[in-house]
Amino acid sequence: MLYFDHAATTPIYPEVISLLNLSFSEDFANPASQHRLGKEMAKKIDLARSSILKALDANTNKYQVVFTSSATESNNQVIKSFNKDRILHYLSDHPSVTNCFKEQGLHLNDSENLIERVSDETELVILSHVNSQSGQIRDVNRIAKHLKEINPKVRVLVDSAQGIGKVPLSLKDESIDYLVMAAHKIGGPRGIAALITRIDAPLKPLLNGGGHELNVRASTPSTPLILGLEKAIQISLENIDEKLEKMTIKSQRLKEELRSIHPNIDFPFGSAEVSPYINTMTFKGLPSDVLLRTLESKKVYVSSSTACSSKVKVKNKMLLGLGLKEDIQKNVLRISMCQKTTDDELNEFLSLFKEAVEELSFLIK
């Protein structure tokens, strides 16, 4: 099997699985319980919190970690803590952001200048660190700082579900108010995510219940999942720059060789300021779902759009926001790798991809 859909979700790192196995049998107590067993859980969770903050250079007096179930939940919780009419975001953001808005909110196309749109009225600006479809990287620290120069009261939410552990990001300059990330995008388990917030930033609970998670996220926390998340972060942050460099070489090779397979293959988002982990191509004249299934029949797995919306066959507002016109939207294929993708896997991928294109050549219009 060749899995090249890591932007959708990733297999769990073996180290994380070992930890989970152990922790699921041992760490069952409720961290809110008043006995020693419970207190021990609370301590483990708090250690995970500070480890995560430390890994992101965050000042522990200014930032806190709230464990949620997913990046979607985190995005929703932050957005619902604000007046939606005073939120500025991009149409190219993940549906967990864009679907929170109907008529409200100010939606921008990627071509629009955010800085020109922010005003004294703006309460929250949402930035995707790495776009899940195009892989485009935003210099979120620089933008956040600039935004605060214009409106010091503005809060900045950075959705880094596709960024953390792949593209370096730091909370050191304190320009970011909320940071969203999920374990399953970096070799951790599904069902656990971290919402890192500035302690002074507003956050309303989505659920009413017991006072878990700093009173903003009721539900008994899952100690094993939290530990799994923390472990996945540690592993993926290790030598992040070096891994990024290696991935850049792989990505360049992937793109070059795919281009040489067929002239209709294009990479519309370029390669400067694009995460090498996400390689999104268009194949003019060949519906990407046909290519996806032909690859799937060879046990090669890719995405034809973000996994959350691949069943949506009507116009995709995310792709529109990224500047991809409707007529090419059904030709978009996302090939995403992880830190552990090897050269051998890449070679095999390329050869099977070539085989698939040859098989479908008579269909290319």
């Binding site: 046909v290 299934r293 799937e296 269909l363």
Partner: protein, 399 residues
């Protein structure tokens, strides 16, 4: 909910049969028995009364069962019998209320019978009395020769039985009395209707769907399975073969003149259907073609395909207009399912100029050179088979 006691089943065309009528009746009786057993837990008996059957049960019959029986080919209509008092005013009133809501019924005839001869008035008087009330209060007319509904009233010792409502059934011949065919089913509007047309004529059907994976996704299978829940009702249970067809399509597309693609896809689909038909002892294959509807359904293409077909080809919709097909599809509740959007391999493979009038020499020589026996056999072998019961439930999947 009415308290239906017995059911009178009016037989459709089968009663016109002569010496072989018994075969038709026996089959219809067996088909009905199979349905009733699925919807009715108590013991019941079916009495053959020439043009009709009377189904008697210990418990009351539900409307769900009656409606399901109406989808059993061979039945013209069903008249449930209600138990009432001996007060004719009361009985008449129930009948009148029901008749008012049955707009398709214009004429009626009362047939009454006294089992208890002590009842103060004779049958003819009962007929006149009840008919008079109906004429007074509704716009229905009496027709003693060919009424839309017979209203039977039976006077017992302490109560009465009477019929009052007609459930229209699909008619035609019982399934199993007119051979066995393999139906080529697509996600479109036509083939389900074609299936229904031949179900009414008593043809036992097995269904084949050609799945063009990887050119189309597995989602389309869900749609086909949904269609089958409707079509299998008319079959009293059946099987669907989902044949993987992508490899065959790939082969054809790579070897033939582009303009012949669609025509040749159909040819090999017909071959596969015939092969499955051989396994099932089917005499014919059934398709939803309507003359001239699309380029592959020109008379030239149809005749070329028929010339090469290994089995007789039935095309019950050949002379239908689209609107006629749509109306029938709505009637058999397949319209909404067929209208759900789905990926279509035909559109993907469609040549710019599909052949309308095939060149005999080219077609014959292509088919001679590309028999594709192994490829077709593999497709049949790799089929996924789904079994449906009389309720239309998908009860088993064999791979």
């Amino acid at each position: 909910m009415q308290d239906y006691k017995d059911l009178v089943v009016i037989v459709d065309e089968s009663w016109l049969k002569g010496k072989n009528r018994k075969t038709y009746y026996t089959t219809l009786q067996a088909n009905m028995r199979k349905v009733i057993k699925h919807y009715y837990e108590s013991p019941f008996e079916i009495k053959n009364e020439q043009q009709r059957f009377v189904i008697k049960g210990k418990e009351t019959f539900t409307e769900e069962l009656i409606l399901r029986l109406c989808k059993t080919p061979g039945i013209n209509s069903i008249l449930p019998i209600l138990k009432g008092s001996l007060d004719l005013d009361e009985v008449s009133q129930t009948i009148i209320e029901s008749l008012k809501s049955q707009e398709d019924i214009k004429t009626f005839k009362i047939r009454s019978k006294r089992v208890d001869k002590r009842y103060p008035i004779i049958s003819d008087q009962i007929n006149r009395l009840v008919a008079g009330k109906i004429l007074e209060q509704t716009d229905k007319k009496v027709d003693i020769r060919n009424p839309d509904i017979y209203i039977d009233i039976k006077i017992m010792n302490d109560y009465s039985y009477f019929s009052f409502k007609r459930y229209k059934a699909v008619g035609g011949f019982p399934i199993g009395t007119n051979g066995s065919v393999v139906t080529l089913l697509s996600g479109g509007l036509d083939s389900p209707v074609a299936s229904y047309m031949m179900a009414k004529r008593g043809s036992k059907q097995h269904f084949v769907f050609f799945h063009a994976y990887p050119y189309v996704g597995d989602e389309v299978k869900e749609k086909i399975l949904k269609l089958m829940t409707k079509l299998s009702l008319y079959q009293n249970g059946t099987a669907l073969y989902i044949v993987p067809f992508g490899e065959v399509q790939n082969y054809i597309a790579k070897h033939c003149d582009e303009n012949y693609r669609t025509l040749l896809f159909r040819k090999y689909m017909m071959d596969i259907a015939s092969m499955i038909g051989d396994q099932l002892n089917a005499q014919a294959i059934l398709m939803g073609d309507a003359l001239g509807q699309v380029s592959s359904q020109t008379i030239f293409n149809m005749s070329a395909l028929d010339r090469h077909s290994k089995k007789m080809v039935l095309r019950p919709l050949v002379g239908f207009n689209k609107i006629e097909v749509i109306n029938l599809a709505k009637e058999i509740e397949t319209f909404d399912i067929s209208s759900e959007p789905h990926d279509d391999a035909c559109a993907l493979f469609a040549p710019k100029h599909p052949i309308l009038k095939p060149n005999t020499k080219y077609l014959d020589s292509f088919l001679e050179e590309h028999k594709c026996e192994d490829l077709l056999e593999k497709a049949v072998e790799d089929s996924e088979i789904h079994i449906f019961n009389v309720r239309g439930d998908n009860i088993r999947r064999k791979v």
